[in-house]
Amino acid sequence: MEEKKKFPKSRLGWLWENMEGKRFLFVIALIGTAAYNILQLVVPHYSGKIIDLFNRVEREGLSLKDNADTLYKLIGLMVGLTLIRVIIVYADCMAYERVSQATLFRIRNFLYDKIQRQDMKFYSTYRTGDLMTRVTGDLDAVRHNIAWVIRSIVEALTLFTSAAIYFFYIDVKLALCILPISPVIFFIVFHFRKNVGPKHAALRERLAGMNTDAQENISGNRVVKAFAREDYEIARFDKSNREFRDTNINTQLVWLKYFPFVETICNALPVILLLVGGMFIINNKITMGDYVAFSFLIWAIANPMRMMGNIMNEFQRFTAASNKVMEIYYSEAEIVDHPDAIAHPERFKGRVEFDHVSFKYDDGKLPVLKDISFVAEPGETVAIIGETGCGKSSLIQMIPRFYEANSGTVSVDGVNVQDYKLVDLRKNIGLATQDVLLYSDTIEGNIAYGASVLTAEEVEKYAKYSAASDFIHRMPEGYDTIVGERGVGLSGGQKQRISLARALAIKPSILILDDTTSAVDMETEKQIQHSLRNLDFPCTKIIIAQRISTTKFADKILVLKDGCIIESGNHKELVAAGGYYSELVKLQLGESLVTA
């Protein structure tokens, strides 16, 4: 079982806070609920009177004509009050919808924004399917709580209280004989709550689990097919599907255990009324008319008691869901703007400096980077090369502050990156990652992702820079071609080139390429290298590469091994030095050629 989390606000306080702008409407809606429920008690009173009148007319042989006025008045009251009630009911329903939708809208936007501004630690803790459940299913439970649960509580309380007051008004003794049984309901429902609460929390986890499994399966559908693992996947999903079903059944069965008791207590009310009331009549303590009045309204005592179970059930669902929502709502990213961060709207010059930087992951024992120091002057190209997993990607991700140094400083234009506002810092950095992620949008939309005010010509220009314009033109719809999620339908090299164009399009003062041309053929890469050397804006380039053809033209090459810089210098120097780099050059030229 998960531990109880403390939030700055209580659940209902949190709801109230998020009802901002609709609080008045909400209070009106609550009053409306009370009003139409009282009317619901009043209307039968008039139709009863009409029937009484008819009865009297027959019994006492009166003329209907003489009583016509009274009758018309009663019918008029019955119809009029009902129509008023009906109108209130409708307006009230819509008011609840309005309030709950407005609250849902507000929380949802807030949640989304919270999620998208989190740091790496958050994304590796929460899985996509789970986060999606919070923004969809869990939030729906929150909405339902406003639109239905709270309203039902008001309804139950109104009915019960007004009926009880009426009972006492008619006859205190009989009322005292009937009503004391009702508090028992609270004990039952309280006990039920203790049992069903954890079930709802578990059910919610199962739902998120199923969402996560399905989400991953859909994302990984290519691998599933490549290994013909459909049956395995079906069996795996079947497990979460089955668990969800069973938990769902178990959760619902909890109430069924309590239901017979609650039902019995509710049913006991009319029986007690019949027996005690009957004896009261026999003993002339009350009149038949009093008895009828009681029996007319006994449902208004019993029904609210019946409703309590359902209300509690839904409230527990809300509790489980709101815990999950509030966890994100009140979460704080670790990497945020420092309070005294300076705004820096101007374009950076692009000087990047690492000063004795060391870094390790939170959960990692081994350091990823050790004592890294280097400088990239404005306009320079620095290439980083090294074995798989040597820390290259971690290094470059420290520049836009995706990771923070454990010791040492990373600075841009002489200012520690931690002292900039994140948005200013990142707006100046163009980063094309290894794992290319495109959006299901047009190619143009993807290229203009970071700089949404691009003209078609500009988009074309950046596509040309990244040697992508040729293949884009060959597509039937050119720049308007929609690429699927993650750019499916494009080859790896094509995706990389679009991602490069996307990074260039913001005219960054620091361009970081994380092995962005690995899947591009040699010829194309040559073109890209050429255009990178001839960009029409000043730009410092930090490039991770495997190919010597890429590193050759760099002003500075850093060779990384096990998180340390083991060699640095330009191509000529490093080849002459005869170290790791020169070995690499030989390797790539091909052994036969070298030995020949």
């Binding site: 008819f54 119809v79 009902t82 129509l83 009911v89 939708q101 936007n109 999620i115 998208q116 994304y123 803790t125 996509t128 999606m132 969809t136 299913g137 399966n217 559908n221 290519r222 691998v223 097919k225 490549a226 459909e230 079906i234 059944i249 069965l253 069924l256 239901f259 017979p260 019949l274 027996l275 004896m279 990692g364 798989t388 997993g389 836009p400 995706f402 990142r426 990652t433 794992d435 959006y439 039937p476 929609i482 699927g484 999620e485 499916v488 494009l490 080859s491 790896g492 094509q494 996307r502 092995d515 899947a519 053929d521 040699m522 194309t524 040559k526 010597i548 690499l584 390797l587 030229l589």
Partner: protein, 593 residues
């Protein structure tokens, strides 16, 4: 070919109501029809018994109390308790059964939907945002559970109820009954009017929710891209727009939805008033006694109650149909790449591969491959080179039949692969794709995916072969290290090595490496190559790579360009030919030297 869908775009609305959907729905109910009939019976019985309660009460009021017969009163009270107990037991029993039935129905639908999704080809996943697929499997299926189980039973119960009440009413007085029922046509017209409107309205709600889900999923996965480009504000605005669409369509839909209940309530009270007035006019003209008026007026209340309930069920039905339609639409999605009738098992593959005049296009009218033919002997290593987007990946994708060819044949060991079962074919192929997908779970789980019953030694051996053992062993929990979703804690090169190990573990007869090593550094790749060579002996392999060191040693090099193979031969042959390959090779050497 349908255009690709995005989060900005609503999915197509189905115009006419598809009757096949109802048939499909009924097929899910069929399995539980016995249980449901029993539950219905219990409910009807419970309803019948509950009718005794007012009779007993009436007896007490008419007989026992006026006669001051306490004993009789208590006897009646006892009977009343018995009635309540029996009816409570029956209700509990019904709930017990129906909770299971309704959960089982959604379990069945979800299971079929998921299984069907596994069969759908790449194209299906390529054409729409994944969030839109996901919302169907999880959220939509949840919505329809009650309609297909309790909803159905309640409809029948309310109908029975209604029939009895009408019968009683007609028995009491035909004329007055007609007054009661005159509200029905009004209601029918009202229902008919909202039917189409509401169907549209709920379809719109489901569409907007689907769009929101699509955007949400893409942006959670792509959160890092958002941050790189500092686009948070703009995205929040887009999301807010989508959420606003959801809110508006919802408000539009409930505007009518919430009208049904109060509407019927209003009609029912007007009818009641009419009865009193009508009774007043006719009173004393013989047939209409006060008793009749009172009886009819109480029946009238009882008559409208089930109608109100039916109205609510109808409302839910319209709402849920919007979801059910989407689910069934997916279930009805054609499986374009499937086993043909009479498909046989692919015998153990020796490795001869031939393309015979193969043409292929992803989208009609735009051929990616045109009339491609080639032959590969068993055991050969084949390199595919050429510019990006030339069709190299397409060739290897066709080999595993991820897509169907437009014309021509793909043969393995002389067997047309379209005539064999997909799983028997794909299980013998090892494909490593450009995008090395890592599942969340341990590293071990990920490698194990290639061969589910592999031993730890086998896993280790595969990892060693691809030079991944050393970095995996260096991790805090070794092979049991949890890699998070998409392997977020691994570098791209490490992901490739793991997915490489996964592929090798599956011991494929034909190995396909599609840019499999692009992110792996050159030295690791060299070591990997040596391990691979021993393993590849006797196996056919296809390699798509840009690194010449990888390509040079292959038995056959095919230069792919403009939808066809323009050059083929060994490295030496192609170098002698001084064509495209020669140009490619020398240009790369120039770059390095």
């Amino acid at each position: 070919m349908a255009k690709k869908n995005t989060y900005k775009q609503d999915e197509r609305l189905e115009e006419p109501f598809d009757i096949r959907h109802l048939l499909l729905a009924s097929s899910y109910i069929k399995k539980y029809i016995g249980k449901m009939a029993f539950a219905l019976l219990i409910s009807a019985l419970g309803g019948g018994i509950a009718l005794l309660a007012p009779i007993l009460t009436q007896k007490a009021l008419d007989d026992a109390i006026p006669n001051s017969n306490a004993k009789y009163l208590f006897l009646l009270g006892g009977l009343l308790v018995a009635v309540f107990i029996v009816s409570t037991i029956l209700t509990t029993l019904r709930s017990h059964m129906m909770i299971r039935v309704s959960q089982n129905i959604i379990y069945d639908i979800r299971k079929d939907l998921f299984a069907h999704l596994q069969k759908l080809p790449f194209q299906y996943y390529d054409d729409r945002p994944h969030g839109k697929i996901l919302i169907r499997v999880v959220n939509y299926v949840n919505s329809v559970s009650d309609m297909l189980s309790n909803g159905l039973i309640n409809v029948v119960l309310e109908m029975i109820n209604l029939i009895f009440i009408v019968a009683f009413m007609l028995y009491v007085d035909v004329q007055m009954s007609l007054v009661v029922m005159c509200g029905v046509p009004v209601l029918a017209v009202f229902m008919f009017w909202i039917k189409n409107r509401q169907r549209r309205a709920w379809q719109r709600v489901s569409n907007k929710n689907s769009n929101l889900n699509a955007y949400l999923q893409e942006n959670i996965v792509g959160a890092r891209i958002t941050q790189i480009f500092a686009r948070e504000d703009e995205n929040a605005e887009i999301f807010s727009g989508l959420a606003d669409d959801c809110r508006h369509t919802w408000m539009h839909a409930v505007r009518c939805n919430n009208l049904v209940w109060p509407g019927i309530d209003a009609i029912s009270v007007l009818i009641r008033a009419a009865i009193f007035l009508f009774g007043m006019m006719l009173f004393g003209q013989g047939s209409k006694t006060i008793g009749t008026i009172i009886a009819i007026s109480s029946y009238s209340a009882r008559f409208w109650q089930p109608i109100m309930n039916l109205g609510n069920i109808f409302n839910n039905f319209l709402n849920n149909m919007a979801y059910l339609e989407r689910i069934f639409e997916t279930l009805g999605e054609k499986v374009t790449v499937d086993n043909v009738e009479g498909a046989t098992e692919m015998p153990p593959i020796k490795g001869a591969v031939s393309f015979r005049n193969v043409s292929f296009s992803y989208e009609a009218g735009k051929e990616v491959l045109h009339n491609v033919s080639f032959d590969v002997k068993p055991g050969m290593s084949v390199a595919l080179v050429g510019p990006t987007g030339a069709g190299k990946s397409t060739i290897v994708n066709l080999l595993s039949r991820f897509y169907n060819v437009n014309s021509g044949e793909v043969l393995i060991d002389g067997q047309d692969i379209s005539k064999v079962t997909l799983s028997s074919l794909r299980q013998q192929m090892g494909i490593m794709m450009q995008d090395s997908f890592i599942f969340s779970g341990t590293i071990r789980d990920n490698i194990l995916y290639g061969k589910l019953d592999a031993t730890d030694e086998e896993i280790r051996k595969a990892a060693k072969l691809v030079c991944a053992d050393s970095f995996i062993s260096g991790m805090p929990d070794g092979y049991l290290t949890e890699v998070k979703e998409r392997g977020s804690l691994l570098s791209q090169g490490q992901k490739q090595l793991i997915s490489f190990a996964r592929t090798l573990l599956s011991d494929p007869a034909i190995l396909i490496l599609d840019e499999a090593t692009s992110s792996i550094d050159v030295q690791t790749e060299k070591a990997l190559q040596q391990g691979l060579n021993s393993m590849l002996k006797g196996r056919t392999s296809f390699i798509i790579a840009h690194r010449l060191s990888t390509i040079r040693s292959c038995d056959l090099i095919m230069y792919v360009n403009d939808g066809g193979i323009t050059e083929a031969g060994t490295h030496d042959e192609l170098m002698a030919k001084k064509g495209d390959y020669y140009k490619l090779y020398t240009s790369q050497l120039e770059d390095i030297a």
